[in-house]
Amino acid sequence: MVKNKEFTQTPNSIKLKKNEEILQWEVGIPMSATMATTIDIDIDTLEENPPQYMQTGYCLASPFEGFYSFDPNQQIEATAVHFQVSTTPSGSIDYVSYDPTQLRSIFFSSPSIPSNFNKIQFAVSEELKNYSHYLPNGSAMALSRINALIGQLSAIPFEEVIAELTPSQTIKIKFKLDAEKIISVTKPLDSQQERELGVDMVIFTLFIDGNAQFIRTVNIKKVINFVQKLMSE
């Protein structure tokens, strides 16, 4: 596993360096330079296991250089580890802490998906204007969790989106998929609750014609797969 790669970030891309070779993705996760969290990509895993990604429908170009092109409805999944970082006024990054045991998946999206990302992010930012007092202490980490969640949910096809920050320190994002279907995804923003529920776990509800069909605690990847399958039927 490659760790501690250097990288720089711009609002719409992440550039990684490995053996002085610049690796760059165009990603669906615009990352603000002021956000005190960033990601490290397990590139070796991707290099060693391209068939796995082909089999699951992800198309990963080779070599790892330049922009990638892939099915606009798909995302590239990678293992990420969370860092807490501080930034200088010029935007360069100094690591503050790094925990390799805190792994999670992130998703790189095609350039078509950022429009979904922007819609979700707009809904969240509107909510933050009025309800940011519901964020837990250490709101930088909470914002990081929100950003990661938005990136993952950007793969969902939807018509409308609304967001809700709750006083019990969770974020709920609701999508109107079509005239009949609405889904709701709720994730804890507080570290302890997130750990207790499971890092990649969310509360997922499907509404059809206004009636909740089920409420489940599930891995977010299953939610995305379920909704993509549901909407392609």
Partner: protein, 249 residues
Amino acid sequence: MSLSLSVPPYPKGIIPDVSFKYIDMDDLNKSAHIAIVRRSTFNDVSKTFDGFGGVREDALIRDGKLRNIPGLSMNLLGGKFEVSHIDFIQKAPASAYWEEGEEISFRQYIECIQYKGGSIPIYFFLSDIHKIHLPYTRKADKVTNKYLAQFEATPPVSNNERYELEGFTIVSHKPNKLNYWHVELDAFDGINPAAPVVKPKSPKKGVDKKSTSHKTQIMLELKELLTTKAMKTLSDCASVPENTYKALP
């Protein structure tokens, strides 16, 4: 005109009568499609409901703490409690539970009534929130094994060595001194039938933080159930049959 003159009189019809008995909520749930109402924490519709017509969590729970959900106050409709009665709040000692056969003197509690005009109602159907399963998992460790053994429970274990369990909700009839139609919502873990799930403020020192994780799962699902089943308007509401609350002479 002073403000006090605009306050309507307290609806004395909702005060418990000596001839009343506790309502068996299971029987009531089987007999009719009963509705329940709770007062929003906000007097503003736009703060109570979201853009898709769903209720916001902070409109249901004042400070949103998970531990405050158990014992969530609501009111049964279809009897003598009308939606407009949510404007009246019973403060201690009027908020203390009424006991069967107890005769209430309204004068004794008249100072314990607060009026909050313009309250926004949030509706539920009893059948949507009573005896609803809340699936959760719990690590198969010594603490859990000891707890399960205490109640002779033998739940299945999943591949990742976690017990697969099911909690459930209960709506209980909890009349108070000035409101017979007061009910409360609780969640149970499906193991201990006597103790509602109450999330501790924070784990005690030396206690594995994961030992509370099942409570977090239950309470997050309970919140989701509440916000999911809440309604902005009520299309129909059955009457509470008299024989469910009036004791036989």
